[in-house]
């Protein structure tokens, strides 16, 4: 079932007394069967938007359609949604079985399936979340990951039109989170429910979503596939939010940026004061300066993690330290230790002050 959000607006508080705009008028179309991630820092309005779609909160204006059905004024219990809470919100006095069966047993008598049907449906759901052996347990006897799976089975029991998840993996530790993510992805490919989930974890959003909606300050900054989002961020906020960022600020004269004793050639840029950004993997290191870049740095921290080595670089001309990720091969070739003096070579520089973001390549000869 597709979701159409149009001109949804929300303000908290009373007139004049600490009024905060939670959501600017928001438009968002979600296609049938799509898995959409709402990504943003806390206070960006992503949870508010999710709760408005669920019907747990009311928007000040705007409308929400599930398919052709206008649900703007439909009570949450009649919206046919499944909702998964960050802290599971399981009924702790009920067994796992009763938790999953809750939605089915809460139906009016005339529509309620027979107890045999409920039993087989619940067991089928528990099998799907691989908890069939835990039916008689109580929530407190399960781990966090298991509890969240129960909560997902419970939400899916009524075959909802739309599945909404509020930071579903936020309370779990890293390994379980990774596992559940993959599992949710599989489940989604199997069942094709339309789904909207909230997260503040970029990796989670990029890994799970068909499309990611990046939000800040109650506005949508960009809606794009994970790939586009990472490669072509619409603005500086998206660029900074999606990963670590290094900054360099200096005066530009004749296509050369100078900052203290550092300078780098930036082809195709006009004169004036300028701040440029680059990702850690866009920093190369060498023992000698090149003709195009003279950026002396010293290594202050070395973290060998996974496929690459993360370095922290400091210099007089830098306001805050840079992060660089280099290959193990480069790490060994340069014999990097803490305190080693090197020269940075930016492979790419990004600027966001113009109407369209611009990527510059200082190393390519012009």
């Amino acid at each position: 079932m597709s979701i159409r959000i149009s001109q949804i607006e929300k303000t908290y508080g009373y007139q004049g007394r600490g009024r905060t705009r939670a959501l600017e008028p928001i438009d968002l179309d979600i296609h049938d069967g799509e898995l959409i991630g709402l990504l943003g820092p806390s206070g960006s309005g992503k949870t508010t938007l999710l709760r408005i779609v669920a019907g747990l909160e009311q928007a000040d204006s705007g409308s929400i359609h599930f398919g052709d059905r206008d649900v703007t004024r439909v009570h949450v219990r009649d919206r046919r949604i499944g909702f998964v809470f960050q802290h599971y919100a399981l009924f702790r006095h009920m067994s796992v079985f009763d938790n999953v069966a809750f939605g089915l047993t809460a139906m009016p008598r005339s529509q309620r399936p027979s107890s045999g049907e409920i039993r087989s449906r619940v067991m089928q759901l528990l099998e799907m979340v691989r908890l069939q052996d835990f039916a008689e347990r109580f929530p407190a006897q399960l781990s966090g990951g298991q509890q969240q799976r129960v909560s997902l089975a419970r939400a899916l029991a009524l075959k909802p039109d739309v599945l909404l998840l509020d930071e579903p993996f936020g309370a779990l530790d890293a390994k379980v989170r990774q596992e559940l993510r993959r599992w949710l992805r599989h489940l989604h490919e199997e069942l094709h429910f339309t789904s909207l989930f909230v997260t503040h974890d970029q990796e989670e959003a990029l890994e799970l979503s068909d499309r990611v909606v990046v939000m800040s300050n109650g506005r949508i900054e960009q809606i794009a596939t994970p790939d586009t989002l990472y490669r072509q961020p619409a603005n500086r906020f998206v660029f900074e939010f999606l990963g670590d960022v290094n900054r360099i600020e200096g005066d530009i004269e004749k296509e050369v940026l100078t900052c203290g004793n550092a300078r780098v050639a930036v082809p195709g840029i006009e004169n004036g004061r300028q701040e440029l950004l680059l990702r850690p993997h866009e920093v190369c290191l060498d023992e000698q300066p090149s003709t195009r870049a003279h950026l002396p740095v010293s290594v202050t921290a070395v973290v060998p993690v996974g496929a690459e080595v993360r370095l922290e670089l400091e210099a007089d001309w830098l306001g805050e330290p840079w992060l660089a990720t280099i290959s193990h091969a480069d790490f060994e070739r340069l014999a990097i230790t803490r305190g080693k003096r090197l020269f940075a070579q930016p492979s790419r520089l990004h600027r966001f002050d113009t109407s369209r973001p611009q990527t510059l390549a200082p190393l390519s000869a012009s």
Partner: protein, 284 residues
């Protein structure tokens, strides 16, 4: 093995002052609770079993047991409902004067029970403010079981409110919301989700209110009137016997009230322990 376990525990204890604080507590408990109880047993020891049995099965006393138990039961049930309602509005809604109502809930604890009793008796007597209005309807409250239950309910309402309130405050809004997203009607959500959550606290509060009512004296006697076989409560019987210098008799009656109360408190504790164990992962 046991000695080893004990020394191990002793070494592992991090919080200081266990010996001192436990010592002071035990001394205090002995002085305030055990000593008077001992004297009660001492008084009882003057009686033979047959004398004791004769004293506690006096028909007038038996009638007073009935009156007391019935009054306390009505008061406790009334408080279970009304206390739950009070806790509910104090936690779930915002309204002007909420803090005042919250503070008023403790008034029955703060007010001397005799003052409460006299006030209630004045209000509900046939020429009191409220009694006058009820009289034409054929309802008399003073000197009937209704009056007894009313006075008992008044003095024990804080037990229910103050045990249910914190549990209700801890109930996450998400749990309600989860029930709603699963299509539950308000009444279904209340019965299946909220009430089971509050159940241990509600039963404990109601039980405490009941036990408190069993021993209530000051608030009840003024409104009860103390008509033998009809509105005479057990604690009044104790008082009567004391006035007649029948200390042994008074102790015999007191021992019955005490035994009943202790048994009830113990039962509540055991039941609550089992219930909570289930919620925290035991098998119920």
């Amino acid at each position: 093995m046991i000695a080893h376990a004990l020394t191990w525990r002793r070494e592992r204890r991090v919080l200081p002052g266990f010996g001192l604080s436990l010592g002071i507590s035990l001394t205090f408990v002995s002085l305030i609770l055990l000593l008077p109880l001992t004297s009660l047993v001492g008084q009882l020891s003057q009686l033979s079993w047959s004398q004791y049995w004769f004293l506690i099965t006096d028909p007038r006393l038996l009638a007073s047991y009935g009156v007391t138990l019935f009054g306390a039961a009505v008061a406790a049930l009334f408080n279970a409902a009304f206390g739950l309602l009070m806790a509910w509005i104090l936690v779930r809604y915002e309204f002007p004067g909420k803090r005042l109502v919250d503070a008023l809930m403790d008034l029955p604890f703060a007010l001397p029970t005799a003052v409460a009793g006299i006030t209630l008796a004045t209000l509900y007597s046939s020429n009191g403010w409220i009694g006058r209005l009820l009289e034409p309807l054929g309802i008399s409250i003073s000197y009937t079981w209704i009056g007894i239950a009313l006075a008992m309910a008044f003095t024990s309402i804080p037990f229910v409110v103050r045990t249910v309130q914190p549990v209700l405050e801890d109930l996450p809004a998400e749990v309600d919301e989860a029930a709603m997203t699963l299509g539950a009607s308000d009444s279904h959500a209340f019965r299946r989700v909220i009430l089971p959550y509050l159940w241990p606290a509600l039963v404990t509060g109601t039980g405490l209110a009941f036990v408190r009512s069993l021993g209530e004296f000051g608030a009840v006697i003024f409104i009860a009137g103390g008509k033998p076989y009809e509105t005479e409560i057990t604690s009044l019987m104790i008082f009567v016997k004391l006035q007649e210098y029948d200390y042994a008799g008074a102790s015999a009656v007191a021992s019955i009230v005490l035994a009943t109360s202790l048994a009830l408190l113990l039962a509540i504790n055991l039941w609550q322990g089992r219930f909570i164990k289930r919620l925290h992962g035991g098998r119920g």
